[in-house]
Amino acid sequence: MKQTLFLTRIMPPYTLRSTITAIGILLLLLLAQTAVAQQPVTDDQVNEVAKGLYCPVCESTPLDVCPTQACIDWRAQIRDLLSQGQTEEQIQAYFARQFGDGVLAEPPRRGANLILWFFPVVAVVVGGFFFSRYLRGLKLQQPAPVAEPGQRQETAVLPPTQAPQSDYIARIEAELRRES
């Protein structure tokens, strides 16, 4: 009681209450954490982590489905680490430290690896720029749209007022005429 009084003297009561609540929550969280850790890790949890990893021996076969002994051992290790309460990121980082970034399904987004995310965008944008310039160049040189001799007439330019349906039918009818 005296101690409480002492505490109330150095901090206002509402702060004290919230401090106690905070400690209580923390304790509860810790308890919950150990409770989770004591529950057996399910295969689905292991696979969830294993999906992001490829063992260096059987490359190109994701770890979660690889039937070799090496991969079975890796999955057992994942199970251990999960039961110690480690997160997916921590476990993947652990394997990457041990065996190199090559075991990660998605390479870490840093350094040279950033090419993998930048290149597709750059390729489409820069490629698109040159492509549209090329197209424009092709078109500018064109004085007027002229149907060439020798081309099939029914594909030549039709007045835009004409409905597409009738144009289409005209095309097919022209084909029919040619056949008969």
Partner: protein, 665 residues
């Protein structure tokens, strides 16, 4: 004895090919037709020689002559007869020999065809074709000799790689090879056109069907490969962006771009340079693909056939690329087109957009596939690019491609007015939007899935409308519905075969979205009699049996009853196959397939010590069968497009300058 005959035939084939190259060169240089005729005969003669070499190898495999290293490596006493034959392409040296046989077949067929207008091409066709053959024969005869002997005679062989003992593997590699080699033919004719300077679209018309057939085989190879992965590799999927898969996807992509853009050249006499570039690119990707498959430079599930022929391949590709680039630059004036684009809204522009997107996909796949090598150069560490990275980068591009696939057929050559396009698109857009909204109401909440499904259904609707409009137009001329539809296909094989192929891609698209976004899975250890549930399915584990299979195989087979909504539907047997000689295990799934989904079960683990418990992995793969159904539709469409049209053949004979032939589209 048999090995000596085989090797002798191989070496003679090499010499004969060399002679063909030289004779064709001399013949065209000194204008001596006799030399060219002789070169042609020599090219044809390679085929029987390689057939002799190939059948010697099959003979050696059948009698089990283990003194031949290759036979020892890929077969054993217990190997079933059918697998002894297919072991011909079960390893490095043998598959090179097989490649040579197929290539000789293609070249011989090209030589024996009726040569008309394009007779001028012949010496160059022989030179470029036989030179390619010469390279592969050289590899086969001097570096990867399939007939090489061991110093002793082992009592038994190693046996075929377990991955290759599946029926899918009997046909998957030959399909891919046929596709690869098929694309060499249009390249050869393209080079012949470049060298001879006869740069009209003769080479394209001559090789059009070859290209389609090559494309068909490559597509079949890809589809069968996917099915094989689904049935045998046991990861619940069909495509893993594995380097070797990518190696065959890349020439398929550039080949697809080529198939579309040649139509512009035929129709509008434009983009000659572009088509040259695409076919050269395809050829280089084919050779590069063979190189990746055969050498395993980038680790992959297919690396059962590694070796040290890398530098030769690299040198050859570099040489052929420089050679092609030299001729293109020499002829650049003749290649530049005199016609111009009339409108950005036209069929030819749509084809170009398609080409742009396909090439963007190709460039990304290329970078990702070779990234392990690139990152090794930069950071000294072999990076790995997993499927998720591919999917993030490529999904939007595939979406755009599918949109184009739906809209492009509505455009016309020269120009389409924006009003007209809007008019044709208005109702389909509304209908698809309503459909997508319905899907949302029915409970699909994934934004990616909704966008994907909108695009795919939109393309589906537009493509079906094309068929409908064509059929209705013919019905208006007094044909009944069936006549109208079949005549529509028969009279415009290329156009409607093409749309049919588009339908196949669209159906596959539905399947891919279903599996990629809505796949469910779970893994659990079950005691005998226990069950697991996934979606509306329940499976009950009813016991395990272990027995010896053929060869060195030990089969562990589980019996599982599958229930849907509580009602029994099927008993399935997921198995683990262990090849004791190599200690290589394989998990072979079993499944219950319906049009809406597959319930796919793997036996993950079973230890005899814990006799009555086993671990299972179950997948629910929605719409997966749409992928295969789409594949079948796709192949039928390609057959429709490639089927010879007797009417046009007739025209061709009667008209020396068959400009009308290009009028199919």
């Amino acid at each position: 004895m048999l090995a000596d005959i085989g090797y002798f035939a191989l070496v003679i084939a090499f010499i004969v090919s060399l002679y063909a190259v030289v004779a064709a060169g001399v013949g065209s240089w000194q204008k001596r037709p006799l030399f060219i005729a002789s070169a042609r005969n020599a090219t044809i003669a390679t085929l029987p020689l390689l057939l002799l070499a190939g059948s010697s190898m099959i003979g050696l495999l059948l009698i089990g002559d283990f003194s031949v290293e290759y036979v020892w490596r890929v077969s054993s006493l217990e190997t079933p007869t059918i697998l002894k034959i297919t072991a011909l392409w079960g390893g490095q040296a043998g598959s090179l020999l097989f490649w040579n046989m197929l290539m000789a077949g293609f070249l011989a067929a090209a030589m024996l065809r009726k040569w008309g207008e394009e007779k001028l091409f012949m010496p160059y066709v022989i030179m470029v074709g036989s030179f390619t053959q010469l390279f592969f024969l050289g590899l086969s005869a001097f570096i990867e000799n399939p007939f090489a002997r061991l110093d002793f005679v082992p009592p038994d062989g190693n046996g075929l790689s377990p991955l290759l003992r599946h029926p899918g593997m009997i046909i998957h590699p030959p399909m891919l090879y046929l596709g690869f080699i098929g694309f060499i033919v249009p390249y050869i004719f393209a080079m012949a056109a470049l060298i001879s300077g006869k740069l009209d679209d003769e080479w394209i018309r001559t090789t059009r069907r070859w290209t389609l057939v090559a494309w068909l085989f490559l597509s079949l190879g890809l589809i069968l490969g996917g099915r094989w992965a689904y049935d045998v590799l046991g990861w619940g999927g069909y495509w893993g962006w594995d380097p070797v898969e990518n190696a065959s996807l890349m020439p398929w992509l550039s080949g697809t771009a080529f198939l579309h853009s040649v139509m512009i050249q035929e129709k509008r006499n434009m983009f000659k340079m572009w088509n040259m570039f695409l076919i050269i690119l395809t050829y280089c990707l084919v050779i590069l693909g063979t190189f990746i498959v055969r050498t395993g430079v980038i680790s992959s599930v297919h690396s059962f056939a590694r070796s040290d022929i890398g530098p030769f391949f690299f040198g050859f590709i570099a040489f052929m690329f420089i050679f092609s680039a030299f001729w293109v630059s020499k002829r650049r004036d003749e290649l530049s087109s005199t016609n111009h684009l009339t409108s950005f809204l036209s069929r030819e522009a749509a084809f170009l957009y398609n080409n742009f997107v396909i090439l963007a996909i190709l460039a990304i796949v290329f970078l990702f596939t070779y990234y392990p090598i690139i990152s090794e150069l930069i950071t000294n560490e072999k990076g790995f690019v997993g499927p998720t990275v591919y999917e993030q980068a490529l999904a939007p591009l595939f979406g755009v491609l599918l949109l184009l696939m739906g809209v492009a057929p509505l455009t016309m050559w020269y120009r389409t007015s924006i009003e007209r396009l809007q008019m044709s698109l208005r109702w389909p857009v509304v209908a698809t939007a309503v459909f997508t909204l319905l899907l949302f109401v029915l409970g699909i909440r994934s934004v990616g899935a909704l966008i994907g499904l909108f695009i795919v259904s939109f393309a589906a609707l537009l493509t079906l409308l094309e068929f409908w409009k064509g059929t209705r137009a013919r019905m208006g001329r007094g044909e009944n519905a069936w006549q109208a539809f079949s005549n529509l296909l028969a009279r415009n094989r290329r156009r409607y075969g093409g749309y049919w192929i588009h339908m196949g891609v669209i159906v596959m698209g539905f399947g891919v979205i279903g599996v990629e976004i809505f796949q469910q899975e779970t893994q659990i250890r079950l005691e005998q009699g226990e069950s697991l549930s996934l979606g509306s399915y329940t499976m009950v584990f009813n016991g395990v049996e272990r027995y010896a299979g053929p060869d060195d195989l030990v089969v562990t087979e589980a019996t599982v009853d599958v229930m849907k909504n509580g009602r029994f539907v099927k008993t399935i047997h997921p198995t683990i196959e262990l090849y004791t000689r190599t200690q290589q295990p394989m998990t072979i799934p079993d499944l219950r397939a319906t049009i809406s989904e597959d319930f796919y079960v793997l036996l993950v683990n079973w230890e005899p010590t814990t006799a009555d418990a086993a671990t299972f992995r179950a997948f629910l793969n929605p719409m997966i069968n749409w992928v295969w159904a789409g594949g079948v539709i796709f192949v039928i469409g390609t057959l429709i497009a490639a089927w010879p049209d007797p009417r046009k053949e007739r025209q061709r004979v009667t008209q020396p300058h068959p400009a009308a032939i290009g009028a199919a589209d």
